[in-house]
Structures are given as structure tokens and as C-alpha cells.
Symmetry: C2
């Protein structure tokens, strides 16, 4: 393990992206979001994905210079075309725009087509919460789970973020519709650990907890069996019809995952009584934290709480990182 | 088992509600929705709940004469007060109003406070889909699941509906955040059946499949463990802050579940290209139905498909119903 400082990672990633001809503002923005994701404890959707991003950009499969643009609108819903550009940049811009519409009209939606992997769903929820707004946003993906009752993977795990703002303790939920996100499975497999609960099927169709075998079969378990499968289906359908973009059905016909569809719905809560909303959130969290833990040594956490704790300690002490992961990023920078 | 016709149930329920002094239009509307729910195969959230409704109305805990009304607005978000009236009526009116706002502005939201059990989430999704619109709607409930890591129940299972319209095959997902809805558990317990997968904890904190023991402990299993627990938390928080209504934390301090909070977000899809949306939905469903089933005798179903099949056969042949359930409703009508 190595200990990496926040500024050190930020600078390393920014330099790396500049070297790969990201426009200045995007090199900075992507470096910031990826560093934040990592220091929030979500390495799987942070620095761990950098080699993947560089590979895609180098190959020309993601064009960092493309600007997303509005291509249609219907009242407070805007359709945007991501042009196959940087997923993080497109999603940040879409969130900003949804927040703008919400500021004016109470609620705003940007439906974004032809975009790429946005790394971490939670990133956009925290962005909204920072500006005092609520957010529901999700992305579709190529398939990585069997639809309920099927052998073959046929639905995506379509990560979803829901954010409820609060000045100190926003509630930010970031989940994919599989019991474990793909990046999490890869990290578990890397450290040769069993999953804490079954996370997918092997090729024989048995429920298993071995992350390597699940990655091989590509058959992730939907949360709640038929329920997560159903949720993934409707999220995909709504993303495709609202954005006019590709559904998982079409993503699956491509050689690699690209041109995914995403939805960002922002709620302007500041127009209601902000102090009463603060009070409500505190009442909700108080109620949860009052529950008796199963393990008396463990306290109950709400969605987003662990992130805030890790953010604080990691920024203070530096982030402990698998040496190989960090070295793979630094190698990319040094390579010609 | 008895076989009951659609018109027979509709008439029986309408007469029963009129007898209990529901205003004419509401007696009709509630009878229609409850009969539809039952004939769609969702008896647990249909006729099975009628004795509960009558008991609450008789006791004065639900007032069938109250009219829900708008109490605030922020652009395309309207806050409504359900006044402790009929949950079905309030939710139908809220859905109608969200659809109206969406017709004008692309998207519309009604956040409804002080309402009562809406019976079946799916009912409002089908309502939206019938008018060619998309819908995301949910309700909070008093707690019936432990928050992840806790012994005690502390979050609701907060049923959610997501609908994507199509003239013949809309996708309508209706799920609660528990592996099994409470009504489903009661029906399983009634027929002395084991659950197909574990559905909750016993008093010792062990995962079990015995519906009766789960109803006793009141500790339902969230879908996907920590994920469903988190989803329930953010749905509750968003419902409470958008409506200015009660969260689960406050619902739990009441003697019985009342004055719940609900959110209805409608999407007007007809402003986009309807034929292309139809095509997208068909492409998505085609892809799912092409997946190889685990059991070669079973076909893959999408959310809403089973409902359409049951609706057709039940309306044609009559609904097969547990004699005791039907008798309990008819007894209510005959009782003075």
C-alpha cells in the first residue's frame, strides 16, 4: 500500500489528462472528480478506472474535446447529446443544467444520450446537495445481469443516485441494481476476498459469492432478485425514451459500452422553507441512528455518512492505495 | 374458492362504500380501483384490504368526504394536503394533476402530505400509461424493516411505481423496498406457504422464509440488504421534504399509520416523437424476451406483462377468490 495526498493525486491526474490532450478545463474537472471519488472511499469508481479511461481516449473511442449540446426540449425537460465525449464532463454539465432549470421552475430534467461512463453516480448527487438541491439521476449500461428468469445477461445494473440536501449531513444514496457494482467485484477479486453475501451466478446458474467466477460468467445478481431486475428495466426504458438515446438492447449490439443514456432530475428545495427541510432531515437521521444495532459495537449509518467520514480522514491523512493501482496510473504518465 | 365477476365486485364495493357514506364519485372511484387491482391479480392490494378500509372509515380515522387541496407550489412542483382523506382518491387526483402539469410543462410533480394508504402503487402507473405518460411515484409508510445493521424496524418499505407508456405493452413496475410487500406476506401466511426466498428476520435476527414469523417480528428484509434499506431512506426523505409532510420517523410516533407522504412525478412523452418511443419500448421488450430462460418451459416476463395477462383472463372468466375474503366483504355490506 502507498499513501497518496489529495493534491498529489489531483496534480498527477490533471497532468496525465493534459498529456492526453484533454482541454484544460476538462483535464481539471475530470482530475477533480476522480480524486474526489477516490478520497470519498470509492476507489472502484475513481482512480482504479483511470487506465480504462486513458485506453479509451488513446484509441479514439472517447473524444475528450467534444462539447455536449442541447438537441431538443419539452418544457422543463431538455434532451442533450453527449457526442461520445467524456462521461464525467457530460454528466457534470447535465447536472448543472438540470439544477439551473430547477432554480427557475422548481424541477428540471436533462436527458442525455450518446455519453460515456460517468464513473460514480454519487458524484452528481453530492454536486446537487452542495447547491442545496435534491437529485434523482441514473445511467443505463450494457447488460451485466440476467433478467429475472433468464440464463443470459440481458439487463444493465444501471446505477442510480438520489440526493436530499442538508448543510452538514446530506443523504446521498449511490447504488447500482446489482448486489455489487462491477468495480466492487473487481476490487474484491483483486484482493482474493469472498463477497459478504452472494453476488451472482456461475456458469451453472448457481448463486455464488466468488467475485472472480461472477466476473467470468458476467451474471451479476440483481438486488432483491426479480425486483432489482424490474427496476433496472424501467430505468433503462425511461432513460432511452426521455433522451431519445440507446437502450441496453442496442448497447449490447456494440463491440464495447459507449453512447449510454442518462437522466438527471433536479429539485429546487430552497424555494420551500429551508429551515423546516433541515429539521426534517435531522429528524429522519435521528430516528435511524436511534435504532439498536445488531452488533453493539457498530453504529447505524445513513446513505452518505460513510463517505463524509472517509472524505475527512482521507483528506487529512492521505489515501491508502494498492501500490499497483497507483503505479499503473503513474506509469501511464511516464509512458511516451 | 369462489368465482366473482368484475361487475359483481364493482357493484358490491360501490354499494358498500355508499352505505359507509362515501360521496358518490368516490364510492365509484374506490370501487373501480379496488376491483381493477384485484382483477389485475393484486388481491393483496385490492379486495383483501377492504375490511381494513371500512374499519378505518367506521372509526372515523379516515374521512371519505375530505377533498385534497393544493397548499403551495414552486414552479412545476405542487404541494397538496390530503387532509387525512381516502388514500386512493387522493392519489388518483394527485396523479391527474401531475399529468396536467406535465402536459403543459413536460414534467409535473405533486407532493402530497397527510394522505392514507393508496392500496396499490401500480394503479397510478397504469393511470399514467393509459394517458401516454411516464410516471415515477412512491409513498412512505410507517416502519416495517430494520435499517441496515439494526435490530429494530426503523424504515418503511415505501412502495414505488415507475411506468413507461406503450399503446399495447406499457412497462409498469410496482415494487416495495422489502423483498415481499406486507400484503403478500399476509396472503402467504394465510395459505400456510413458505416464501420462495428469505423475506425477513425472526426475533433472533435470523433470515427466514416463514411469513407468519416475519409478520410477528415485523422485520421485513430490504431488497439487496443495505441497498433497499438505503433506497427506502431516500424515498422517505424526498417524500417528506417535497410535500412538507410526515416522514417515517414521525409516522412511527402515531398509534396507527396515517398521514403518509407521497410523490407523483409525471413525464409527458407525447411531445417527443411517439412512434419512436413505441419503437424503443418494443426493442427493449424484444431484447428481454429473447433471453434464454433458466427453465425452458417458462417465458421471460417484463414488469407489467403478468398484470395484462391476468387482467384479460380474470375479466373474461371471473376472479377466483378465497371464499373467506369475499365473504368478509359481503358480511360488511350486510352488517347494520
Amino acid at each position: 500500500m502507498v499513501r497518496v495526498g489529495f493534491e498529489e493525486m489531483l496534480k498527477t491526474l490533471e497532468d496525465l489528462f493534459l498529456k492526453h490532450r484533454f482541454p484544460d478545463d476538462r483535464a481539471r474537472l475530470c482530475a477533480e472528480r476522480i480524486t474526489e471519488n477516490s478520497f470519498d472511499g470509492i476507489i472502484s469508481h475513481g482512480v482504479f478506472m483511470v487506465p480504462w479511461l486513458i485506453e479509451r481516449v488513446t484509441r479514439g473511442s472517447i473524444d475528450p474535446s467534444v462539447e455536449p449540446r442541447p438537441v431538443g426540449s419539452l418544457g422543463v425537460i431538455e434532451q442533450w447529446d453527449g457526442g461520445g465525449g467524456l462521461g464525467i464532463y457530460n454528466a457534470v454539465r447535465a447536472t448543472e443544467r438540470a439544477l439551473e432549470i430547477a432554480t427557475e421552475f422548481g424541477m428540471g430534467c436533462v436527458a442525455l444520450k450518446n455519453t460515456n461512463h460517468w464513473f460514480r453516480a454519487g458524484s452528481y448527487g453530492w454536486q446537487a446537495a452542495r447547491s442545496g438541491a435534491g437529485l434523482i439521476a441514473w445511467t443505463n449500461t450494457e447488460s451485466n445481469m440476467p433478467v429475472w428468469g433468464a440464463r443470459d445477461k440481458s439487463v444493465g445494473n444501471n446505477p442510480l443516485v438520489v440526493a436530499v440536501p442538508h448543510p452538514r449531513t446530506p443523504i446521498v444514496l449511490d447504488i447500482s441494481m446489482s448486489q455489487f457494482a462491477l468495480g466492487k467485484l473487481r476490487l474484491y477479486a483483486r484482493s482474493d476476498s469472498e463477497l459478504p453475501v452472494p453476488g451472482g451466478y456461475n456458469d451453472e446458474g448457481e448463486l455464488i459469492s466468488d467475485p472472480g467466477k461472477i466476473l467470468e460468467s458476467g451474471r451479476l445478481l440483481p438486488i432483491g432478485f426479480w425486483k432489482g431486475s424490474g427496476l433496472a428495466i424501467v430505468l433503462d426504458a425511461l432513460a432511452a425514451v426521455l433522451s431519445g438515446g440507446l437502450s441496453t438492447a442496442v448497447l449490447d449490439s456494440q463491440e464495447e459500452e459507449r453512447n449510454v443514456s442518462q437522466v438527471f432530475i433536479a429539485f429546487n428545495l430552497e424555494g420551500f422553507d429551508p429551515s423546516s427541510i433541515e429539521g426534517q432531515v435531522e429528524e429522519i437521521l435521528g430516528h435511524l441512528h436511534d435504532a439498536r444495532p445488531v452488533d453493539p459495537g457498530q453504529s447505524i449509518r445513513h446513505p452518505g455518512q460513510r463517505v463524509l467520514e472517509l472524505r475527512e480522514s482521507n483528506r487529512r491523512d492521505g489515501l491508502m492505495l494498492d501500490e499497483e493501482i497507483w503505479e499503473s496510473v503513474r506509469r501511464l504518465y511516464r509512458s511516451p
